[in-house]
């Protein structure tokens, strides 16, 4: 029995030291982070968030470095008194590390975001949330993936051009006034990073990406996002909004060539009878 116990202690110690080693191996590149931190937040204090307050989910090893699913969850319901105002998604080792800045309002209901990103090399991915009181909170996760930023587009360029800017926004479940509803936005766009080498033309495909997204419900701002080349081809976002009654959930996206794309759905409360009120349009 005591031998078994000793073995257990040895195993636990080994496991613990393994964890410590793993944690230290995943410290990332502190110099890179200090540069990003200085440019975005200067010397403002940043609290390491824990528990449900702020959580970042990402695969430890990505299936595809060009499509790495990322979820940022917050444990704070958005209210006029306290809410997450801004969330930065930062990929330390990417050529352009600030992947996105999401701006929320109390009408967001829940400042959660899901999206997919490109990862260029093994890196720490961070979410930094700024509350309306100005405090900064951060979580990070080490992700093993490489080559995502220079990966060629999955879709044939001619096909991608034909469907450029087609968008769909969908609301999950029933729409209940005052309760956060989950919406999903899908955009057909190559989101070319400018870093992918085209083997056929022997040139780099020029950067062409969605740079801004704004979402309103019944005319009220729900969420805006400044996004960058780190967002995967066919940008995809899940976010919350709080419907106070029937209304139109409207989305506008602007890309790096200043093309504007719109879509909207009309929602009734109760049973979700969402209907598209406006086809996706490029301008």
């Amino acid at each position: 029995m005591s031998q078994q116990f000793n073995r257990l202690v040895v195993r636990a110690t080994l496991a613990l030291s393994g964890l410590i080693l793993a944690a230290s191996a995943h410290a990332g590149d502190p110099e890179m982070w200090s540069r990003i931190r200085a440019s975005l937040f200067q010397d403002r204090p940043i609290v390491e968030a824990s528990g449900d307050f702020l959580r970042l989910d990402a695969p430890t090893r990505a299936e595809d470095a060009a499509v790495v699913p990322i979820s940022i969850h917050t444990g704070i319901p958005q209210s006029a008194g306290q809410y997450v105002q801004n969330t930065w998604l930062i990929i330390d080792q990417n050529p352009s590390p600030i992947a996105a800045k999401f701006v929320f309002t109390p009408s967001s209901g829940q400042a959660d975001i899901e999206t997919r990103v490109r990862v260029n090399e093994y890196t720490l991915i961070r979410a930094v949330a700024e509350l309306n009181d100005g405090s900064l909170h951060m979580v990070s996760k080490f992700v093993k993936a490489s080559g995502g930023c220079s990966a060629p587009a999955g879709k044939d360029p001619a096909e991608a051009l034909a469907s450029l800017g087609k968008m769909k926004v969908r609301v999950e479940g029933d729409v209940i006034p005052g309760k956060p509803s989950l919406a999903q936005l899908m955009i057909s766009h190559p989101n070319d990073s400018g870093l992918a080498f085209d083997q056929m033309s022997r040139n780099y495909t020029p950067a062409h990406y969605v740079r801004e997204i704004s979402v309103t419900y019944a005319g009220k701002k729900v969420m805006t996002a400044e996004v960058d080349i780190s967002i995967s081809e066919n940008p995809n976002f899940r976010f919350y909004f709080v419907p106070e009654g029937a209304g139109v959930l409207a989305v506008e996206a602007i890309d790096s060539s200043d093309l504007k794309f719109n879509t909207a759905v009309k929602l009734d409360t109760g049973k979700n009878v969402a209907a598209s009120v406006k086809p996706a349009a490029g301008s």
């Binding site: 990402a58 299936e63 066919n234 995809n236 899940r238």
Partner: protein, 355 residues
């Protein structure tokens, strides 16, 4: 290499589990495919992987196992083939390393002293073309379909590093990435090294860059990635349903024997009859091989659709519990997870494009 459902009770358990979590639609086809397994072919032992196996007159295979390259199989994965013609030898695929290519050359030399004249690369995969450098140094032209060098150049930055990591520097010594030359194959049959062959690109729906190579004298077909036996293929660049359709290509069904890229060789009933009952255990019938892979592709599509309709977040797609009845196939992990991931993205894209 293990084959699925070595006992009927295991088969039944898988089918019951599968039915409990999936819709019934299409299940009968799956059941039929599973029941059609009959005798399970026995895979090549490590030793067999060094000796050429004669399939028909002048047609040989250096067999590999269907698993991903690992320290045990030393990267002897995938079936490499060669045809002995009047003037020389046509090689089909070169293996995962320079060392494997040397093993192939050694195996050829035990059969014939004719010169090595042409190499054909059947599909873009690290398992079949990292021996190219050896043949290039010997001055042998290396041909493939046009997509193969493009896809390999785009994707294979890290292939060599990964293979060195997995197989070790000793085994990978002298290995380098040499891209094949994109070749415009004539339609119909043509003469290569004094052997009449025909080459079909695709067929459409399978892996881009795939070639199906038929030896006209014997009716033996090298399917490339189109057919793999008891191995979960990587379904990334095409939809599983398009691949399922591609498997109806009659060049497979009419073959005397089909050498799949990975896994045991499939035989026509005529070829099977020529084998002793004991030898038959090493093979599978062409029809069973096709319908099993079709079953997998259909069920992959079905499972992915279920996940998409549930609006499961993408990060959860690869974390599904393994109740899939193909979990004993080679490369189930990680290929099935990858396949679900990519099919989910395809379905999302189809959804976005629909009205």
């Amino acid at each position: 290499m293990q084959f699925p459902f070595t006992s009927s009770s295991l088969l039944l358990r898988h089918v019951i589990q599968f039915r409990s979590t999936h819709f019934i639609t299409g299940r009968l086809a799956l059941l039929a495919a599973l029941l059609s397994l009959g005798s399970n072919p026995v895979h090549a032992t490590n030793n067999d992987k060094l000796h050429a196996q004669k399939i028909a007159r002048g047609v040989y295979v250096l067999p590999g196992d269907g698993a991903a390259p690992n320290a045990n199989n030393l990267g002897r994965v995938g079936n490499l083939g060669f045809l002995v013609g009047k003037t020389g030898v046509v090689i089909i695929d070169t293996g995962s390393s320079a060392a494997r290519a040397q093993e192939l050359i050694h195996a050829i030399k035990t059969v014939t002293n004719k010169p090595l004249q042409y190499v054909l690369i059947s599909h873009p995969a690290q398992e079949v073309l990292f021996g190219d450098g050896v043949f290039k140094d010997l001055g042998v032209p290396i041909w493939s379909q046009v997509h193969t060098p493009r896809l390999m150049a785009q994707r294979c930055d890290h292939c060599l590093e990964t293979l060195i990591q997995v197989l070790g520097e000793d085994r990978m010594k002298g290995t380098r990435l040499v891209l094949p030359t994109a070749y415009a194959f004539p339609s119909g049959s043509f003469n290569l090294a004094g052997r009449k062959i025909s080459v079909v690109e695709g067929p459409q729906g399978t892996v881009p860059g795939n070639l199906v190579i038929r030896d006209e004298a014997t009716g033996v077909v090298f399917s490339g990635a189109l057919l793999s036996v008891h191995r979960v293929p990587a379904v990334q660049d095409t939809s599983p349903l398009a691949w399922e359709q591609a498997l109806t290509f009659d060049g497979l069904a009419k073959a005397y024997a089909v050498v799949p890229a990975y896994g045991p060789i499939a035989l026509s009933s005529r070829a099977m009859q020529l084998k002793t009952p004991q030898d038959r255990q090493s093979f599978i019938s062409i029809q069973d091989a096709i319908s099993q892979l079709q079953g997998y592709l259909r069920d992959l599509d079905h499972q992915a659709r279920g996940l998409y309709e549930r609006r499961l977040p993408l990060e959860e797609v690869t974390q599904q519990p393994s109740v899939f009845p193909y979990m004993d196939w080679d490369d189930y992990s990680p290929n099935h997870g990858h396949n679900l991931f990519y099919r989910y993205l395809q379905l999302e894209s189809e959804d976005l494009m629909s009205k």
